[in-house]
């Protein structure tokens, strides 16, 4: 048996951020065998170990699963205080954490949209959808 050649994958975290900048959206890796979705992408499916993966675009709208208004943080985030972090679900099978642009009128179940900000950190934020803005 010959030794395996060096490991190559396009499903890297670097490519996740490159696609974010180039395509203006978030992408996940979907396993073609078991349909498991991973964000950021991983080189193999962590549910079934398959290497048969494809890029899928994350839907533009999601719903807040939980949120918290942060008042104490690390050095890198002092300028944003207070800010709201949340986990939002995009369909039944993908949840993504992020900072919400707004601080007021946030509720579990509120609809959010992803906003890409390619030249800033963090590279994306969530914004309450207009229907959920008061």
């Amino acid at each position: 048996m010959s030794q395996p050649t060096s490991f190559r994958t396009e499903f890297t975290i670097e490519n996740f951020f490159r696609k974010l900048k180039e395509e203006g959206s978030l992408s996940a890796a979907r396993c073609e065998k078991c349909n498991f979705k991973m964000i950021p992408p991983r080189p193999i499916c962590s549910r079934c170990l398959s290497c048969d993966l494809e890029w899928v675009r994350v839907p533009a709208r999601g719903k807040i699963v939980s949120f918290s208004e942060v008042h104490v943080s690390s050095e890198n985030f002092q300028r944003l205080l207070p800010y709201v972090v949340c986990i939002a679900s995009f369909g039944d099978d993908l949840k993504i954490p992020g900072i919400l642009k707004e601080v007021k009128n946030v509720k579990v179940g509120s609809e959010v949209e992803i906003e890409i900000q390619p030249d800033k950190k963090p590279e994306y934020v969530f914004a309450l959808s207009s229907a959920d803005r008061v």
């Binding site: 943080s73 690390s74 949340c86 986990i87």
Partner: protein, 386 residues
């Protein structure tokens, strides 16, 4: 029931903020208590040293294995530092038990240490964030209080728990620590004090969060057949479990369910041949008040989604059906991160030997310790008997 290993002596430094002491000196303080409580032990017979420690950020010091072995006069015995954020202490214990069960060593020293208070709140917040997912959590400003706040809000929204329930956990644990002379915070607080304290990451407030503490704890373990040589009052590790979950909270199917805690508890119960109802009391990982409620559920003391009922009905008070955190927990005894898992064992060993004065739990026979790191992402549980 198999006795995997015996705990023959324990020691713990006072927990608090000690600007005048280095981490290694806190280890010495803890060790001397354990050493004094152990007769006929020749230090040459200690086969290995396992040290739990979270972060080099605080003291700019790794290599705690070598440091502790040297400062306790145990050179040239083998040593290692084990790490799993706040689970490091129990991981050191598990490593020691495993070394004994394997037959590699007859006697080992396990230790946990953290010296945190040299750093500012901003720096400590950052050091703790390294236990979350780098790519999507740390880069999105998710502090540890906010990660537990996300669990809390999800639990509240799904099951109807509320901020009063969280406050009740803090009130209980502060009350328990009043009678613990080594606790970091010995101050009675009311629900109103908790609810009116500064918001750290809503819905969690200052009094929902464990303090930043310095401290160390040690235990001397041996194979069970040898225990009577060293003490008349050994306790025994009769079950242990270790389970992992995703490092990112967001990657879990249900963010209000600590699946790895439930798995590790289940493993320990199975190994010991015990059920939740057999446990006399527990020390659980209340780094944030919500986590104590989640641990009631995962340990099987309450049904899934009903943890808040246990605190409302005072079942987890000392004198209740299943007392939890008689030491005061991380909340009030204090949370020197890498030491916490062994601080729990210090309380359990003393409770099982009826040495806890006013906070003594009568008739205690089996105790459960739940120690976890990250967002319940590495969980180590032990069941100890007398």
């Amino acid at each position: 029931m198999r006795k995997l290993a015996s705990i023959v002596s324990v020691g713990m430094s006072k927990i608090g903020r000690f600007p005048e002491l280095n981490g290694r000196e806190l280890v010495v303080e803890a060790f001397l208590e354990a050493w004094d409580g152990c007769k006929n032990l020749d230090r040459k017979d200690i086969g290995a040293v396992f040290v739990g420690n979270q972060s080099e950020t605080y003291e700019h010091q790794i290599m705690y294995g070598s440091l502790v072995t040297d400062w306790l006069g145990l050179l040239p015995k083998g040593s290692m530092r084990v790490e799993g954020c706040a689970a490091a202490g129990a991981l050191a214990l598990s490593s020691g038990v495993t070394a004994i069960v394997s037959g590699l060593h007859d006697i080992v020293l396990v230790c946990g240490i953290e010296k945190m208070s040299l750093r500012s709140t901003i720096e400590i917040t950052d050091a703790l964030m390294s236990a979350s997912d780098l790519v999507l959590e740390q880069h999105n400003g998710m502090t540890f209080p906010s990660i537990y706040a996300l669990m809390a809000r999800a639990h509240m929204s799904k099951y109807g728990s509320n901020e009063d329930d969280l406050a009740a956990v803090a009130v209980k644990n502060h009350r328990n620590a009043l009678d613990n002379p080594k606790a970091h915070i010995r101050k009675e607080i009311s629900k109103v004090d908790v609810l009116k304290s500064k918001v750290i990451a809503s819905p969690l407030k200052l009094y929902d969060c464990s303090p930043v503490s310095d401290g160390a704890a040690v235990a001397i373990l041996c194979k069970t057949e040898l225990a009577s040589r060293f003490t008349d009052s050994p306790t025994f590790v009769v079950g242990m479990g270790n389970s992992s979950d995703t490092i990112g909270l967001y990657e879990r199917e249900d963010i209000s369910w600590p699946g790895a805690v439930a798995q590790a508890c289940s493993n320990s119960y199975q190994m010991a041949g015990l059920a939740p109802g057999d446990i006399s009391f527990a020390e659980v990982h209340d780094a944030f008040t919500i986590n104590e409620i989640l641990h009631y559920e995962a340990a099987g003391f309450a049904k899934r989604g009903a943890g808040q009922e246990s605190i409302r009905s005072h079942q987890t008070d000392i004198g209740g059906k299943i007392p939890v955190n008689p030491s005061g927990g991380l909340k009030a005894r204090g949370h020197p991160v890498g030491a916490t898992g062994l601080c729990q064992i210090y309380e359990i060993h003393n409770q099982l030997n009826r040495r806890c004065g006013k906070r003594q739990i009568s008739g205690a026979k089996y105790a459960l310790a739940i120690n976890e790191g990250g967002s319940n992402a590495i969980v180590t549980t032990h069941i100890i008997s007398n």
